[in-house]
């Protein structure tokens, strides 16, 4: 079960991203769509994309067709598109809901998008398969703590991409524990 985390600044610039392969057994890892197995390749993915004529798909399609052999990178791009698409939903929900942790925000094939919005309008987007609400909530809170510590660095502003290896290492450790 893999997870993809994206940290977005208040102006929606991507500051940090992480892909994590979980070693834990997910609650329900299998999906009805048989081709969506861990060993993805670009062609079946883009094929499915074209089959479901959704708004974000057109861009992905071109990315998929253009990419061809670069399977992994395209998949990541596709996931980024999914994350971006969920931002619209996120804005709507944030308008209504006061909480920080927004679970099950958006669903795309078998990918669920959960989000965490801080008071400073910093968004943490997590793409995951299956259900793992408590683990994800714990993970988000830890990432939030780590992020606050990073923000305390005077050389860092709300829009600087986070390149600190310490932060990266800690987020990975946290991901291993919660996801």
């Amino acid at each position: 079960m893999s997870h993809h985390l994206f940290l977005l600044s208040p102006s929606d610039t991507p500051l940090y991203s992480l892909s994590h392969q979980s070693t834990k057994q997910g609650a329900s890892a299998s999906s009805p769509l048989g081709a969506n197995l861990p060993t993805w390749s670009t062609s079946p993915f883009s094929g499915r994309m074209s089959a479901l004529a959704g708004a974000p798909n057109t861009a992905m399609q071109s990315a998929g067709l253009g990419g061809g052999a670069a399977g992994g990178q395209d998949r990541l791009n596709a996931l980024r598109m999914v994350a971006n698409a969920s931002l619209d939903v996120l804005e709507n929900v944030v308008f209504r809901d006061n909480g920080m942790y927004l679970k099950g925000l958006d669903k795309f094939n078998e990918w669920t998008v959960s989000a965490f919005v801080t008071a400073g309008n910093m968004k943490f987007i997590l793409l995951h398969e299956g259900k793992n609400d408590d683990g994800i909530r714990g993970f988000f809170f830890e990432v939030w703590e780590l992020y606050v510590k990073t923000m305390a660095n005077p050389f860092h502003s709300a829009h600087t991409p986070i390149r600190s290896p310490v932060f990266d290492h800690r987020v990975r450790a946290s991901a291993k524990r919660y996801l």
Partner: protein
């Protein structure tokens, strides 16, 4: 000698506890960090920033020594070795609540030089800071690392300013810094000369 050290530690502890005005450490660290970042933006040259931090420290030190002597009531230090001990155990403890380790490096001759002498046979001591409240959350970006920024350079200035007010001209500089990836943060303080009673240089 050992009893002196213990005495200084006790005095330092008492002074720290007795201080009624303390400041939140996070606020202190954030304020200093903002100051350094602003200096970097203004000067854009890390050497210049180091110099400015040292100058600021110098101004702080010349005033801080009065406060220190008034509160601690310490008398004259008998030799440069004692100066190092007092700075580390009483001075730093009173104002920052940290006790850096001291390592002395005295010249072979026991009497300190009375004239300014550029040869390496000058007494010096090295302060090793295991913790530094100024750098609580700080991580230096790459260009600061390459540019040679000493983040806590203000401390060197404070030491230089304070000692100048008690008739000692010293050179204080960082030799290593944890923020730069070194093992420990160390300040080396070298005695240049004892100042005779002169008319002090005007504050410009």
């Amino acid at each position: 000698m050992a009893s002196n050290v213990k005495q200084y530690k006790a005095i330092g502890e008492e002074l720290w506890k007795g201080r009624s005005e303390k400041i939140n450490a996070e606020l202190f660290a954030l304020t200093y960090g903002a100051l350094v970042v602003q200096l970097i933006q203004d000067y854009e040259d890390y050497d210049e920033v180091n110099k400015q931090l040292e100058k600021m420290g110098y101004n702080i030190g010349t005033r801080l020594i009065e406060d220190f002597l008034a509160r601690s009531g310490m008398g004259r230090c008998s030799d440069f070795r004692e100066v190092g001990e007092v700075i580390a155990k009483v001075g730093f403890k009173t104002f920052l609540n940290i006790t850096p380790g001291v390592v002395h490096a005295l010249p072979p001759s026991p009497t300190p030089n009375r004239q300014s002498n550029p040869t390496p046979s000058q007494p010096s001591f090295t302060l090793t800071l295991d913790e530094n409240p100024l750098t609580e959350f700080v991580e230096l970006p790459e260009d600061a690392l390459e540019g040679g920024l000493w983040f806590s350079n203000v401390l060197c200035g404070v030491i230089r300013g304070a000692l100048e007010m008690v008739q000692m001209q010293v050179q204080a500089e960082f030799v290593s810094d944890v923020l730069r990836g070194d093992e420990s943060s160390e300040i080396r303080v070298k005695l240049v000369k004892y100042l005779e009673e002169e008319v002090p240089v005007g504050d410009d």
